[in-house]
């Protein structure tokens, strides 16, 4: 029965793909292929990034360096083979000159060979595994890397009386990245890891893992889960009384994702994370950004995925200005290297060596601010390299 089920899923996916790939003939405008999970468990990433992309174009106009920008959105439903197929179709059939989006690491990995073969710039707006830019010389990244986000919290922890930590990560590349970086930095600073758990990426049930963490009696529980999963962790953390047992919740900021933070309830209060973006970041650029996103999408609070999408567009626009509208892969990448600008998150730079992003990482604590939960920044580490060093 399951064989038939998966067969029918494939047929349905194919039908959907055929449906979505037809249309679009004119070649005049500069087409940007935006591939994101718009449905499925990581749809929040797709929603956040597309909202940012739309806002960017609305604010900056759809013509840059004399070329009209046209965004072709494709929903890969978080299936790597679909990402790859869309990337291929966008490049060959639709003549997209830039590929962007890429909600999760496996999806970015899947599209990388297409970027290499077609020499098309590929801008990763969301996925966070360190090695992604190594998968193709045409990859640039405007999101973050997990080593970059996990190293600061490890350094902070040992300075603030946290000596024993239990780590819990989702069992895929970014989770392993987060775990490895945290362990290395934490141990180098004299900390002790009292237990590790890797939770399957499909069908996660956090209860047994959090119970194990509690029974190991650490000072803190280090958690990485992908954007959107934080609430389920927080629930078990609260239900099992880890806070009462004196266990702090720490991690990179994915677990206190702004998109869902407010619905997590008081259980989230006191969580300490290190991350590059909080909707509560106190800068004029960010206040304007949060207000504009909210105005265009009532009820939406931008999260770190949103700002990755915004800066992806900023990067594309700035590079096109430098190349006079050329999207030739090698020229585009050369022009992007070393580019620097002020984003709602603070100052960011494209590392000329790795084509990855260098940015400030902030230490934040979840607090209730005028009735809503926010990651309130209390410290920062300036210009953290992609590998966290």
């Amino acid at each position: 029965m399951m064989d038939r089920l998966s067969f029918r899923l494939v047929v349905a996916a194919l039908a959907l793909g055929v449906l979505m790939s037809t249309g679009a003939y004119a070649q005049q405008p500069l087409k940007i292929g935006l591939i994101l999970p718009m449905t499925g468990p990581f749809a929040s990433t797709g929603r956040q990034v597309t909202a940012a992309v739309k806002l960017y174009i609305a604010e900056h106009g759809d013509v840059v360096a004399g070329r009209k920008i046209e965004v072709l959105l494709r929903d890969d439903t978080n299936a790597p083979e679909t990402t790859k197929r869309f990337a291929q179709e966008l490049v060959t059939n639709d003549h997209a000159e830039i590929l962007t989006g890429f909600g999760l690491t496996p999806l970015a990995f899947a599209a990388a060979p297409i970027a290499t073969a077609a020499k098309v710039p590929m801008i990763v707006m969301s996925a966070g595994t360190l090695v992604i830019p190594e998968k193709s010389p045409y990859i640039l990244r405007t999101s973050f890397t997990l080593p970059q986000q996990s190293a600061p919290i490890a350094a902070w922890a040992t300075k603030h009386g946290i000596n024993k930590v239990f780590t819990l990560v989702t069992d895929y590349a970014p989770g392993i990245d987060a775990e490895t970086t945290f362990n290395n930095v934490f141990k180098a600073n004299g900390g002790q890891i009292v237990g590790e758990a890797r939770v399957p990426a499909q069908n996660p049930d956090y209860a047994p893992f959090i119970q194990r963490a509690k029974d190991a009696k650490p000072d803190a529980l280090f958690v990485f889960v992908p954007s959107g999963e934080g609430a389920a962790v927080m629930k078990q953390f609260a239900e099992r009384g880890l806070a009462k047992a004196g266990i702090k919740l720490i991690g990179p900021g994915d677990v206190t994702d702004d998109d869902i933070l407010d619905s997590m309830g008081d259980a989230a209060i006191g969580t300490i994370t290190s991350h590059f973006y909080s909707a509560a970041h106190p800068s004029a650029e960010n206040k304007a950004y949060v207000a504009a996103i909210e105005k265009a999408n009532p009820g939406m609070r931008p999260n770190f995925m949103s700002v990755g999408g915004w800066d992806g567009m900023e990067l594309i626009y700035e590079v096109l200005k430098k190349t006079n509208g050329s999207t030739d892969g090698d020229k585009f990448i050369a022009a992007a290297k070393g580019l620097s600008w002020v984003s709602p998150r603070g100052k960011v730079t494209i590392d000329p060596r790795t084509r990855d992003i260098i940015q400030d990482v902030y230490m934040r604590e979840v607090k209730r601010v005028s009735g809503h939960l926010y990651n309130v920044e209390f410290d920062q580490v300036a210009s953290v390299a992609p590998d966290g060093k």
Binding site: R8, A12, P41, A43, D205, P208, A231, A232, E239, R240
Partner: protein
């Protein structure tokens, strides 16, 4: 250790509630209803809408989460399912999988495809401490109590009431039951509705523990089928035992050997089915 056992039993109890309806339709009505999870999901979404949009207290949401899927079940049974009772299993599978896809698309259209988050009332929050190393989660205790009562109630209905004996008679031999004046169609509609309603209730209770999103019917279909395969069909005690075993092994597996935790249940299923191919309490086919 005891906490793990308790959590396992609680998750088994939830699984029982979710899968029982499938066991009933498959065992009693000989109908392969793969869309069972869709009814569970609808119960979950009913609770989410009531709780989060209309502010109805959690405990009042539960009966509604039973009634709405139950009514939906009766309506669908009368209009669509009834046409396929005599069809071959492949047609039934194709039809019900179609319903699954329709329900998933409907759910993501109206509710979005993110996980739904609810806040249960404070008195169901937290754990209380029994012994060293044994903490009981209040919500799970509540779940366990409720499922126990429902199992007992259903068992009594099936074994001790006129309705139960009519139902068993209709299953054993529908033609003779009809000949004796039993309204078999009505019986089946009620049974189908009950099964769907229970799944809906399970879906609502499960929001806190399982993740409710539009792929729920597919994600948990495997679990439901394992419960039915291991427990055998047509009884209450079979799925109950199977669900408890599954819940305990699943939770314990993830706790003690987290690397392979997710696979333990499949190993358990294989072992049980090698030992008893008809399921734990299953009757050998008597057709």
């Amino acid at each position: 250790m005891l906490t793990v056992l308790f959590d396992g039993i609680a998750s088994g109890a939830l699984l029982f509630l979710l899968a029982l309806g499938l066991s009933i339709t498959l065992g009693i009505m000989n109908f392969v209803n793969l869309a069972h999870g869709a009814f569970a999901m609808s119960g979950g979404y009913v609770a989410v809408v009531l709780l989060n949009r209309w502010g109805v207290p959690f405990l009042y949401c539960l009966p509604v989460a039973f009634v709405v899927p139950a009514l939906a079940g009766v309506v669908l049974e009368r209009t669509l399912y009834v046409r396929l009772y005599n069809a071959n299993p492949l047609d039934q599978v194709l039809f019900t999988i179609g319903i699954v896809f329709a329900s998933m698309a409907t759910a993501s259209y109206f509710m979005g495809s993110q996980h739904q988050i609810i806040q249960v009332p404070p008195f169901l929050h937290g754990q209380f401490h029994v012994l060293a190393g044994f903490d009981i989660g209040i919500y799970r205790l509540f779940l366990l109590g409720l499922c126990g009562l429902i199992a007992l109630f259903l068992h009594l209905v099936l074994m001790r009431t006129r309705f139960g004996s009519q139902l068993r008679a209709a299953v054993d031999n529908g033609r003779i039951a009809r000949g004796l004046g039993i309204n078999v169609n009505r019986l089946f509609a009620i049974t189908f509705g009950m099964g769907s309603g229970l799944a809906g209730l399970g879906g609502a209770l499960g929001i806190e523990i399982l993740n409710l999103d539009p792929v729920f019917p597919v994600k948990f279909l495997v679990y439901f089928l394992i419960v039915v395969a291991v427990g055998g069909t047509g009884t209450v005690s079979g799925p109950l035992a199977a669900a408890l075993i599954l819940g305990i092994f699943d939770v314990a597996g993830k706790y003690y050997i987290s690397q392979i935790g997710a696979f333990i249940i499949y190993a358990v299923m294989i072992v049980v089915l090698i030992w008893r191919p008809q399921g734990l309490f299953g009757r050998r086919a008597v057709h």
